[in-house]
């Protein structure tokens, strides 16, 4: 088919639920492609050679992107076959495509260097990845592929314990199971998924889809033990006695709090508490679900990352007015562009260069306003390349009867406090070597537990790299035994 490529500069759009409708519920905002439109979008790709394709380099787990797009295009009249072949290519590098296709910041990763971006819109790689995963799930194509991938899955090569069931842990577990290890995941909460289940809301990542992605791992033979807090229910040392190796993927789930007056007033939530109540406990379905959640009429969200955006958009759906207050400027926001855009569309207001200095309460101990100092940007940049800011000495007070703090998260200390041999950095992240091994031989770690707050795909990349290192470690250990 040596036809001269005709460049289609513009993206094939994906439909979205209209704003008026979606702000009233937690339904998924983006509806994704159907086969016909996915095919059209895939056909825009000019098929750069895999050894050079910049999109592959931009993807932290190096999915063969032109490869899966090609697979889609090769069977235009047989969608099932096309999707099966595309999914096979994706699964080689990524076992949770329905998740990553939805939550990755593709504009900074695979889509940023896409050649088509130089002449028009980059290929909509994320939505295509999502399409492949969604179609396969809906049409029962996964089962067949799973059998292929389970070729080694007899669990006889050794036993590995994985701590935490976020993207890092799940990926590591899946990879090891595929290699033939017996894997047990220990999870503190009552549902697996980490941030994917308790942090990211339904309107971005439907939990039904996540559950199915996780069910797939169970089919690969991975056992998931819920309600198990490693460091309390079972110690790291005990795990090392029972398993050949351990992977720690406990994330960075502890919220940072502002150390300013009024922080303990009623109706001041951390974003984690707010989102956990909504996502994990389904408090938005109260009283059908028992978990309560209370918001007033005016909510201020402090911060401007993904967490802040998710909290703001969730609060909005509970019927309150929402303002995001950020101490830096619009261009410094760290949330995904798509989400900032959605938040604006839905009516979230933004206030920039405001740094909270005090929460003001009423007689009953409830928050009623937030006092901010106005900030000013400097030319100088910090380590992360963001503009530095300084206070102006001017203040402004905004009314709010609900406040959600989303200024960042740090690693949970339960394990490192109990296992004293486990070295940590001053910020609580675990120290690892180039093989992702911690200071305790046989104990590996990855994801937010070693990086601090990062991304889903980086966590998955770590999980995968650690699985390889664990395999090598166990082989060596068994050879020497």
């Amino acid at each position: 088919m040596a036809v001269k490529p005709k460049l289609i500069k513009e993206r094939i759009p994906t439909p979205e639920v209209p704003v008026e409708e979606r702000v009233k519920s937690f339904v998924e905002v983006n509806l994704g492609y159907d086969f016909a439109s996915a095919l059209k979008e895939a056909e825009r790709c000019i098929q750069c050679p895999p050894e050079y394709a910049p999109c592959i380099k931009g993807c932290p787990v190096h999915i063969n992107i032109p490869g899966f797009l090609k697979a889609l295009r090769e069977n235009p009249d047989n969608p099932d076959e096309a999707v099966k072949n595309a999914l096979r290519v994706i699964w080689n590098d990524n076992t949770l495509p329905a998740v990553t296709g939805r939550v990755c910041p593709q504009e900074e990763q695979c889509e940023a260097p896409c050649v088509m971006g130089k002449v028009g819109d980059p290929i909509n790689i994320g939505k295509l990845e999502r399409f492949v995963a969604d179609y396969a799930r809906k049409h029962g194509i996964e089962e067949e592929l799973l059998r292929e991938f389970m070729a080694n899955g007899d669990g006889t090569k050794g036993r590995v314990a994985v701590v935490g069931s976020g993207p890092a842990g799940l990926t590591c577990a899946g990879e090891l199971a595929k290699m033939g290890y017996e894997v047990t995941v220990f999870e503190a909460l009552h549902r697996p998924g980490g941030v994917l289940i308790y942090g990211i809301p339904e309107f971005r990542l439907p939990k039904e889809i996540l559950d199915k992605e996780i069910a797939k791992l169970r089919e690969l033979g991975v056992e998931i033990k819920l309600d198990h807090i490693v460091g309390k229910t079972v110690t790291l040392e005990e795990l090392l006695g029972e398993y050949d190796a351990v992977f720690i993927g406990t994330g960075a789930g502890t919220p940072k709090l502002l150390n300013i007056p009024g922080i303990l007033l009623d109706r001041i939530y951390t974003a984690n508490e707010f989102l956990t109540r909504i996502n994990l406990m389904k408090a938005y379905l109260f009283p059908e679900y028992d978990e309560p959640i209370a918001v007033g009429e005016k909510t201020i969200v402090i911060g401007a990352g993904n967490t802040a955006m998710d909290a703001a958009r969730s609060a909005l759906r509970l019927g309150t007015e929402v303002t995001i207050a950020y101490r830096r400027g619009r261009e410094d926001m760290t949330a995904r562009i798509e989400e900032i855009h959605h938040a604006e569309e839905e009516g979230v207001k933004f206030e920039f260069f405001l740094n909270p200095v005090e929460f003001i309460g009423d007689e009953e101990g409830r928050v009623k306003a937030v006092k901010f100092e106005k900030m000013r940007p400097l030319e100088e940049r910090d380590r992360k390349g963001k503009r530095k800011i300084v206070g102006t000495g001017e203040y402004v007070t905004l009314e709010a009867d609900t406040v959600i703090i989303a200024i960042g998260l740090e690693p949970n200390r339960i394990i490192s406090e109990e296992a004293t041999g486990l070295k940590t950095n001053p910020d609580g992240t675990l120290v690892v070597d180039e093989n992702l091994m911690t200071s305790i031989p046989g104990v590996f770690a990855g994801g937010d537990a070693i990086r601090g707050e990062a991304t889903v795909i980086l966590a998955m990349g770590d999980g995968k790299r650690a699985a390889k290192a664990i395999d090598a470690y166990i082989r060596r250990k068994k050879a020497n035994a």
Partner: protein, 288 residues
Amino acid sequence: MYKILEKKEIAMRNTWYKIHAPHVARKVQPGQFVIVRAFKNGERIPLTPVMWDREEGWIVLIVFTRGKTTARMAAELREGDEILNIAGPLGNPVEMKKFGKILAIGAYTGIVEVYPIAKAWQELGNDVTTLHVTFEPMVVLKGEMENAVGRHILETVQIDMTKSFPENMKNVTKRLTEKVRELLEKEHFDLVFMVGPSGDQRAVFEVVKEFGVPMKADLHPIMVDGTGMCGACRVTVGGEVKFACIDGPEFDAYKVDWDVLISRSGYYTDMEMMAMQEYMKVLQGGGQ
């Protein structure tokens, strides 16, 4: 899924659950708690293993019927049913050492949390006196306490049906503070420990402070995950914000900011909303 081996009402609004939960039973230490999710659409609530058998793999929880979840548990759960989730043990064990002479106080169902701690302190060679102050029909663990510690003092308060529940609760607070004062005036204690509503904890603390006796208290802020992930349980201790689920639940009473804790837990206001008599009707009517 954790099977309920035994369930019985051991006093008014107090239910005893013996549950198969080997992962908790093998590790739990006095002072630690669990997070329980009993129903599919249910919330997570903190409760305390009162007794356990590491070999047989069971724990005992004693639950005060307070609001929706605990009432649903009392009404809907049967022996042989399974509890969906029990996560734990959580929190830090209490310090196990020889303090000397200890006064361990439990108000209402708080005494069930005192039990494993007081028992272990006594076994370690401390001279433990326990004090239980509650309404008359709510006495629990009297025999167990008497067997476990040097001396168990029970002080009951009558419920006056003509008065509101908060009015009745004030009588408990009064009896508590009077009794503590009486004990501290007569005897020397090296440590006071207390579990109960935060308002009562503060009232007792005010008395203990006059005598300069060290005091520890188990704090009960609202909890969601119980693993340090949400900050719902934050309290100020010694001027610093702490998470009760991972830094506590036990803290030095002299360092706790009681005002903030009380305004955040709103214990009395909640109690007010529950008409006591309504509840008694529910219980007598078999829980429908």
